[in-house]
Symmetry: C2
Subunit: 110 residues, 2 copies
DNA sequence: ACCCATGTTCGACATCCGTCGAACAACCTC
DNA sequence: GAGGTTGTTCGACGGATGTCGAACATGGGT
């Protein structure tokens, strides 16, 4: 059948940032592994999920990326078998000015 | 006996802010009740613990104030049977510039 | 077509966390 | 000192969370 489209891209769940409570954003950032991921993402463009090797299994990594995505912190682009993740910096900055910068500026290992 | 001193003030556990991991600070802020408390504290000076009526029992309130204190967010002064709590704004601002302001500026009910 | 690489999902498990009532402790007042 | 006020601590309980291995899905390469 022809109405199948060229799809398969399964609609990743990426909420509007304004619908995410601040506490959810903070909770997403309040984890060591996730904060490392966010720091890495803050360096620049897009990263494949596999890029992040922080001593956890790929199941756990996948879980953390999902938490970040559903907290409105990241956006994911699907390309083949890989997924490319990037920070939603501008949106974040618009809704919570200074928050991300402040967190990123904090000493990495307290 | 005279060597009893005039004590009983039991040494509240208030860590150095630099010893608290950022993730702990964020986790402390990542709760609705605690964020309400912090917002109230941000209004000004000192508040007795009993001031905070946010629909939780006093046991729970006590718990949250402990979490905030041990995350280095508040300082507590003991006076009689009351405890007066205040935000450690300057210290926070010095170690995590902009963080608290960004969180406080966020819309209260997302 | 087969295999491999990349990620997600599914239990399962242990731990942490928010919540409460009840008991306790300290202090003030009468 | 008896009683009331203020706040902490102690289980207990239910729900969330981080972690993993194994199974699954999808797509690329040879």
């Amino acid at each position: 059948m022809s109405n199948m489209g060229y799809a398969g891209h399964m609609e990743l769940h990426e909420p509007e940032l304004r619908d995410v409570p601040v506490t959810a954003v903070l909770a997403a950032l309040a984890d060591d592994v996730r904060l490392q991921i966010v720091r890495a993402l803050a360096e620049g463009g897009e990263y494949a999920c596999g890029t992040f090797e922080f001593g956890v299994s790929k199941a756990t990594r996948s879980h953390h990326l999902k938490v970040l995505r559903e907290a409105g912190l990241t956006r994911t682009r699907v390309a083949g078998t890989s997924r490319y993740v990037r920070l939603r910096r501008e949106e974040l900055q618009r809704l919570y000015p200074g928050l991300l910068d402040a967190v990123l500026a904090a000493p990495a290992r307290a």
